[in-house]
């Protein structure tokens, strides 16, 4: 058989192909997210930080979709990027007027924060590697919106109601706190 046909054959298995595509997608998104997250907490310009946050949040949405949680992914885009980030931008506009730089952060504080961050990361990673070393994700059945809706309104009805009340409370609380007397 010619080399040509051999090459053509290589791509035949769909599951392998899917796996590759997913892993590539994951790698690209993960790197983008981590870099953006790092820039977000280090950049001096607050507006830029908010925009980096958008990148991270989009990445999270992508990860959700990769995990088969399309509904959560779409919600993530709509609520986070659509609402929360805009809220942040308003916050920035209202608190500073101009979008100048954040004041410098002292080196020792950064060192301390960095150490704590590394500590947190180390402990978590150790625990994760210890517990789930080879756990494979089986993506045979992505969950549907209908399933989520069913379980929210049956098994998780009490937390759902609690969240509703919480949102109301937050609404009132925000108005009370921010109101100009």
């Amino acid at each position: 058989m010619s080399t040509l046909a051999a090459l053509a054959d290589m791509d035949r298995l769909t599951s392998g192909e899917a796996l590759v595509a997913q892993n590539v997608a994951f790698a690209v998104m993960a790197i983008t997210m981590i870099v953006s997250a790092l820039r977000m907490v280090t950049t001096r310009n607050v507006v830029h930080a908010a925009l980096y946050l958008v990148v991270v949040l989009s990445g999270v949405a992508g990860i959700f979709i990769l995990l088969g949680a399309e509904f959560v992914g779409v919600t993530q885009v709509m609520v986070y990027i659509g609402a929360i980030v805009v809220l942040f931008l308003f916050g920035i506009m209202l608190t500073k007027g101009s979008f100048g730089d954040d004041d410098g952060v002292s080196g020792e504080r950064r060192l301390m924060a960095g150490l704590v961050g590394l500590l947190v990361f180390g402990v978590m990673t150790a625990a994760l590697v210890d517990s789930f070393a080879d756990a494979e994700l089986d993506r045979s059945a992505p969950s549907t919106t209908a399933e989520i809706a069913d379980s929210i309104f049956s098994a998780y009805i009490v937390p759902f109601e609690a969240v509703s009340v919480l949102l109301l409370a937050a609404l009132i609380g925000a108005i009370v706190v921010a109101r100009r007397d």
Partner: protein, 558 residues
Amino acid sequence: MENLLDGWGITLATFSPLVGAAVMMLIPREREDQHKLIALVTSLWVAFVGVLLLIQFDLDHTDRLQFGVDKVWIDVISSRFSVGIDGMSLPLILLTMLIVPLCIIYSWNHFPDPVNPKAFLILILILETGMIGTFVAQDLVLFFVFFEVVLLPMFFMIAVWGGEDRRYASLKFFLYTLFGSALMLVSFLALFFLTGAETFSIAGLSEAVAAGGVSRTAQLWIFGGMFLGFGIKVPMFPFHTWLPDAHTQAPTVGSVILAAVLLKLGTYGFIRIAIPVLPDAAVTWAPWIGLLAVVGIIYGALGCLAQTDVKRLIAFSSVAHMGFVMLGIATLTDFGINAAIMGMVAHGLITGMLFFLAGSMKERYHTLEISRLGGLLVQAPRMGWIFGFCVMASLGLPGLAGFWGEFPAILSAYNPANGVPIETFRTYMVIAALGTVLAAGYLLWLLQRTAFGNPPAEFADDPAITDTTRHEWIAWAPILALIVAIGIYPNLIFRVSDGAVDASLSDCLTVDAHQLTDEEVEALGCSDVYRLGEVTGHDDDHGDDHAEETNEHAAAGN
């Protein structure tokens, strides 16, 4: 005529420049016109022989070595004068034969300081011999000798006619390349002794290795040595740092030859020697070559964005472009290596052209500081448009040559050869695609800063800034025409290279099919049926190939 070409064509093409150089040495230095004339006639003669060879070349059997000569040379070490042309080397040989006369025409009236056309032209002719010789050599010792012949003229060219920092740059270039050559030589010798084949011929060594004469570990090490030797010449990240200095300091013509031909010696070595002789090791090394290639693509592009000097920027862009070539090679597929050959030719034409332009700009503005330039299109509109055209070609615009080096390389990375990790290469593919965006970024940025806008005050009324001269037109027109021609009809190159690449790879891929473990097969998603069929098919093929090759060798030997 036919017989003459068959036996003597290559030898004629290779050594005519040396004859020309020898004649020039006899003529006193002051008779500049005679020197120019002799050099031009010699290089045109070589080009003429090249055209004759092309006409005689059997395009239906590009996989065969044609015009082959195989004579006893240094019998003590079983090295033979064995040369030949096949589809892989033909495009590069013709490229060399084209670029050299154009360089001579270009420098006709403005030789760089210290002028001395005699020495300058002799060096160029010696360079031509070395370059053509490297592309035709079929014997490793011969290859090595020609490879080194190239080194010295280039060293002198930079060291004597170079810019301010020429000492440093030339020494760096020399040491780097020598270091690589040394490793390469060690690898060649190791091959010679470990196979015990008593030959330096590429085909012979390839057979000996395939027969199982060399342990796997040894193959890996030998490939590593060649990798360094060729990789430095390419240059691959992180062995590239000689390149920006050499390019920046070299005279225009030196830069052009360096970019157009010299860099291709490295990539040519990969596809002519390293991969066919050591296919197993190539498969193991492929992910690393690919990694360095894509790092080079991104890194070269980022480096470009930080440059302040036109020539240095173009030099860094070479790192990125050669990254695409190496990515194509690393896939070890027919498609990828064809793309690499196309990429070499395209890069040779386009980057060579860009260096010509940079040289002409330097002559007019006496600086290549990007921040001081601007408005080239206003003061020299034709040159500005040519510059824009070359920038577009360089960033891989379809319809121009550069695209056919870039896109097929990306395409092939999606589906590399058996045994090469497919996931890794698909990741590389995405990164390489990102590289095309960055390439557009730095090239257009360069174009905007130098060609657009109004001329800065210091050059606004400078009478020295004129449009393209006649010598420049003559030197550039063939290159520009070829960039368009190859871009519109890429078959000009693919038609020639395809058969040869296919033949040289058939061993590599089928040999590899044996080695796949069950898990690998599973991971790759190949069916069992396919694998069995492949193995039996291979055995038959290989037998045939083998028989054919021996026959041919016998014929060539007579």
